[in-house]
């Protein structure tokens, strides 16, 4: 009577034999999942930390206290106070003599050039502005905080290692000694840099600001909003409330879904070929940028608006139609107001996308170096992300700090817009 070996092992034994292994696998799988989430979160944290740690210092600027003497013979030798003379005067000479007065024993051209190089070339502009607005200053003395050169700025902010050998440092030992003297006297300090937020672009990192780019972004976004919101809402209304189901509306829908996934740079090509070459609109203008971004954000707005319209229950429509409202009256008096919060949320998210978009704007020439702050949608301008792109390309160490700070401002705006969208949704979302 030989029993077959198979009968000896019950199923439960076979399960138990591998159970430990299977539980181990389960734990491992779970850990992989957790690790993936943590890795993703780590990337978020890393990027924010990286950018904030590099950028926060750009909101402060190193300034040097100089005793400026507004000498008549330099500014206005004839004494006529003619604005043209005042504007053309050599203010840099005033800064230079103030520096020489600080360090009287500096001799030789090379040494002098290093000394003059400590103060930004923007210092002369500050003096000119002061004299132009108040010619009474001529002949007087004034102690002024003037912006330091970007290398000095980096040194004071600790971005240049003071202990590195001279050959590997951008700052010579001599200049380092001068800076340390100034520090000992308290004549050099970091002050809040308003110019960074309000000023235009500049080749000098210490003078460059994002004011122009912010205004450019603002005009571009206004154009985008004015065009894309009405068009997007109208399209959604038509497709959702009026359109018959036929080939044509199918075509429209397929188009919208495809446009949502077309690479943004292709919209730039469209803008270049159609708006600029065909219609002859000006290059670099926020108007054209806004039009290109409109085409790009339309699918987002249309899709969100349609979802919002779909969420309005049919009973609302039926009630309105039942008491004799026309189709159009039903939609505009009852459905649209109820769908509006959802549409606005979608629009804000679309605007946030448009604010961060760079590539199509490169195509239509918004990459130019523009110092002036644009005054309207037809002026040449650049936008915040493009400004970031331009600065990221600049070799100066100080521009890296500026770029990070500009990114902080951009992310700040984006977070603000998303928070508004979330609040809007929380506040007005209705469950039917």
């Amino acid at each position: 009577m030989n029993k077959p070996a198979v009968d000896q092992t019950r199923t439960i034994d076979r399960v138990n034999a591998t159970l430990k292994q299977r539980y181990n696998r389960e734990r491992r799988f779970r850990r992989f999942g957790l690790a993936a989430v943590i890795l993703g979160l780590l990337f978020v944290a890393l990027m924010f930390l990286n950018i904030i740690s590099q950028g926060y210092s750009a909101f402060y600027q190193t300034r040097i206290l100089l005793d400026i003497e507004y000498r008549q013979e330099v500014i206005d030798p004839a004494g006529e106070r003619d604005p043209a003379t005042l504007s053309a005067a050599d203010y840099a000479a005033l800064v230079k003599s103030a520096l020489r007065a600080l360090y009287p024993d500096v001799k030789g051209r090379g040494e002098k050039r290093e000394l003059y190089g400590m103060v930004s070339s923007g210092a002369a502009l500050v003096l000119r502005q002061r004299v132009m607005s108040d010619p009474e200053l001529i002949g007087s003395r004034q102690a002024l905080w003037l912006p330091a050169d970007d290398d000095i700025d980096m040194l004071v902010k600790g971005r240049i290692d003071r202990n590195a050998p001279e050959s590997e440092r951008r700052i010579k030992n001599r200049v380092l000694a001068w800076v340390e003297q100034l520090e000992a006297r308290g004549a050099i300090e970091k002050q809040f840099n308003l110019g960074f937020l309000t000023g235009g672009d500049s080749r000098e990192p210490e003078l460059a600001g994002i004011g122009g780019a912010v205004m450019g972004s603002l005009y571009t976004l206004i154009v985008t909003l004015l065009l894309s919101f009405p068009i997007g809402v109208a399209t959604a209304l038509y497709l959702e409330e009026f359109a018959p189901r036929n080939r044509w509306t199918d075509l429209v829908e397929v188009n919208i879904n495809n446009l949502a996934a077309v690479p943004s740079i292709v919209f730039g090509l469209l803008g270049l070929a159609v708006f600029i070459n065909f219609f002859g609109l000006p290059r670099s203008a926020p108007l054209v940028g806004g039009m290109v971004l409109t085409l790009m954000t339309l699918p987002t707005i249309i899709i969100a608006s349609r979802a919002a319209l779909k969420a309005v229950p049919p009973s609302i429509r039926e009630a309105a139609l039942g008491i004799g409202a026309s189709r159009t009256q039903t939609v505009f008096h009852h459905v649209l107001p109820l769908a509006m919060p959802g549409m606005l949320t979608g629009t804000i998210i679309g605007m946030a996308q448009a604010l961060g978009e760079t590539a199509p704007l490169l195509m239509i020439g918004m990459v130019a170096f523009i110092v002036d702050i644009p005054g309207g949608p037809m002026d040449p301008a650049t936008v915040l992300p493009v400004q970031i792109f331009l600065w990221a390309d600049s070799p100066e160490r100080a521009f890296m700090e500026k770029t990070s700070a500009a990114i902080m401002v951009l992310l700040g705006f984006l977070i603000l817009m998303n928070v508004i969208a979330v609040i809007l949704r929380k506040r007005f979302e209705r469950r039917w």
Binding site: A234, L270, M363
Partner: protein, 462 residues
């Protein structure tokens, strides 16, 4: 500026027309009490009059503004001396630019001749005449429309139906913009591409192994012949996209699985939006991160290991692009995983499978088509992504599979060819449009396939 004023005046007229039409309808039936005798509510008569007043005038103004610069240009050219008129189009364009600049008081490129001053004065006169004429025409049209609309108002008149049909046609018009956009994209890249293929044969473009798009300024210049072979660009694009997918797919998919199958409600509520922050960060920020943080990091560590890493390595761009795509993959996978019916999970768990076995052997196979569709969409995004590669990838077209070397991509080349000064008849500029056409077609095919797969899958369980 003056056109803005004109539009404001028109809007004012329309408001006036609204009030006049509404008043007239009320007066015709003898005050507010008689409204029941009107076919439509009084406000519809107002809207009707306003539409008659504003719509034709605005249309004419729009046409006028879009046509005027072309017409004026032709008139100015017709008035130029024979010698200038017969110049080739490009040079003639320069002359016209100069004349326009002169008329607007801007800087002029060359010397100002007497003829040019005359032409500029002529140009200025034409512009003023055109503007004055447009004001007269538009305003008289508006007033005419107002009176027509006002006269048409009567108690039996079906104002509401008319207004509603105008609104409907406006909505239809807006919905066609999507089609016009697609059409515009196709036509604009197609026309320039056809011009490009007249200069460079299409076979050479599609299958050439060399890409160096400079054109000779002089005939005898060294390296004068440009090469327009697109293969190295595509190899580079695919290499970077592949690296991105190797980063994004495991992390994105695993985090979607963890968040939807394992994580508690509170962890999920925190982690999901935080991960989605990655989707909201502008690509230029990723580009900055890739070029100034990740690329030097990889290069320095590679040097420590004795590897020769380019400072514009494909690896850096691909890694950062992968980070960008993580939330895209994870939210799409999340959708499809949640769409798998609960009964399938219950059945699997019920016969004794562990949770991970359920996920791997039941949920993933069921969700696979959707996940594949999502990955295809992500690939199409990676191929079309511009700023990360413009900032972190190289410019030279290397045909290599080594991720430590520098490669270039289609989008990088479009940007480098088109940023800066352009002439619109050199193959260099036109090549960008040909690349754009290819990019558009490839992403279109990927999207159509992916959307089809996703949709088909969704229907299977609904």
């Amino acid at each position: 500026m003056s056109n803005t004023l004109l539009i404001l005046i028109l809007l004012g007229l329309m408001a006036l027309a609204y009030r006049l039409g509404m008043r007239r309808s009320q007066r015709l039936v003898g005050g507010p009490g008689g409204v029941r005798d009107l076919h439509s509510l009084p406000s519809y008569y107002g809207f009707f009059t306003a539409i008659w007043c504003g719509l034709p005038a605005l249309l004419v103004l729009f046409l006028w503004v879009s046509l005027q610069s072309g017409v004026i240009r032709d008139l100015v050219i017709a008035d130029l001396p024979e010698a200038v008129r017969t110049l080739p189009p490009a040079q003639l364009g320069l002359v016209i630019n100069d004349i326009q600049n002169l008329a607007q008081g801007n800087i002029v490129s060359g010397e100002v001749s007497l003829e040019m001053e005359r032409a500029a004065a002529h140009y200025q006169r034409l512009r003023q005449t055109s503007f004055a004429a447009s004001v007269v025409v538009v305003l008289s049209l508006a007033l005419l429309g107002l009176s027509v609309g006002w006269r048409l108002v009567s108690p039996k008149f079906r104002a509401r139906n008319r207004v509603e049909s105008v609104i409907k046609w406006l909505l239809v018009g807006c919905s066609t913009i999507a089609i016009f956009t697609t059409l515009g994209i196709v036509l604009s890249v197609l026309f320039e591409s056809i011009r490009f293929f007249e200069m460079v044969p299409i076979g050479e473009f599609l299958f050439g192994l060399d890409w160096s798009p400079q054109m000779a300024i002089r005939e005898d210049q060294v390296g004068s012949s440009g090469a327009f072979g697109v293969i190295p660009l595509f190899a580079g694009t695919l290499l970077i996209a592949l690296i991105a997918m190797l980063v994004a797919v495991p992390i994105g998919l695993m985090s979607a699985i963890y968040l939807s199958e394992y994580a508690g409600a509170r962890f999920r509520a925190w982690a999901k939006p935080l991960l989605e922050i990655l989707a909201g960060i502008p690509t230029v920020v990723y580009g900055f991160f890739a070029a100034l943080t990740v690329a030097p990091f990889i290069r320095d560590n590679g040097a420590l290991l004795g590897l020769d890493v380019s400072s514009e390595s494909a690896l850096a761009a691909g890694l950062v692009m992968g980070i960008m795509i993580i939330p895209f993959i994870s939210s799409l996978s999340d959708d499809v995983i949640n769409a798998v019916p609960q009964s399938m999970r219950d059945a699997s768990l019920g016969i004794g499978a562990t949770h991970s076995e359920t996920v791997r052997k039941v949920i993933l196979p069921a969700a696979l088509p959707g996940i594949v569709g999502g990955i295809l969409l992500a690939v199409s995004r990676a191929i079309g992504e511009t700023m990360i590669v413009v900032m972190a990838a190289g410019l030279s077209a290397n045909l290599t599979a080594n991720p430590l070397q520098s490669v270039t991509t289609v989008t990088v080349q479009i940007v480098t060819l088109l940023v800066g000064d352009q002439e619109f008849d050199s193959p260099k500029t036109l090549a960008a449009f040909a690349l754009g056409l290819l990019l558009f077609l490839i992403t279109l095919v990927l999207n159509v396939v992916a959307l089809h797969v996703v949709r088909k899958y969704r229907e299977a369980y609904e």
